[in-house]
Symmetry: C2
Subunit: 153 residues, 2 copies
């Protein structure tokens, strides 16, 4: 291999495909764990949360007891805080997968009407304690991509 | 169930355990996919990347061809940019797992000596094209937690 050539791996170069919003959301609808990212008290914070897709928005719950939730709540209490939400499905062995990134304001669900609607998604957090607060991310920007190995369908 | 009771799920409340730095790094050493989070041109950005743990730091590679890499490189070119790196392993069915969050400056590996050292980690990116640029995150803060269901070892 000479300088300037693309390095040859044991596999051919994978294919990268940008995903349309609709396809990205369809993929997100099929998963239940995503990662919420926001600027918290200690800098950029990323945590996995259990979520549901509800009418095109991400819904998850936070509580009032764990350090994670305190941090998240504090960060989010300034009204409509801009956050990012990442969902992916990756096969490490096959070196294939997709990831979707949703950006938008994190909306605190406070009215009874809204609360009732998102509660019907059945989203439940994993961590103990009262988890009475719903956060809803209404996407303003949705990007996604898929990586496949050539020769695989 | 009356108002004020903690909601009862089909399982008992899970146990949340904060992880020490050493244990967090040991868990990170056993994985190879993490999520880099940074403030990019379009706001908070989170992407999965293939990484290696190298002498306590996170090493991954970026290229110069895909929108993800361009965005990441642009964001990171302002010297030692503060980023977050998240690694987790979650069993969705069992509702158990752990996550580790590493924060620190993203260091561009430029000297030949540094480059040679991190290249020996063998970290390879998934996406095609020349991936000639190494990024190294030297942790300034490491936090982690594990969620287990009661009664399971």
């Amino acid at each position: 291999m000479t300088d300037g050539d693309e390095p040859q791996r044991s596999t051919a170069e994978p294919l990268v495909e940008e995903l349309a919003e609709a396809e990205s959301l369809a993929l997100v609808a099929g998963q239940d764990i995503g990662r919420i990212a926001f600027s918290g008290r200690f800098g950029l914070t990323v945590w996995p949360v259990n979520y549901r897709l509800h009418e095109g928005s991400i819904v998850f719950r936070t509580g009032r007891d764990s350090p994670m939730d305190e941090d998240l709540r504090t960060g989010l209490e300034h009204g409509e805080y801009q956050v990012a939400f990442e969902v992916d499905q990756i096969e490490s062995g096959a070196r294939e997968g997709w990831s979707v990134l949703i950006r938008g304001p994190a909306h605190h669900v406070v009215s009874e009407q809204e609360r009732s609607a998102v509660a019907r998604t059945g989203v439940t957090p994993w961590v103990g304690g009262p988890k009475e607060h719903y956060i809803q991310i209404v996407p303003t920007r949705i990007t996604g991509r898929r990586i496949r190995q050539p020769g695989r369908s």
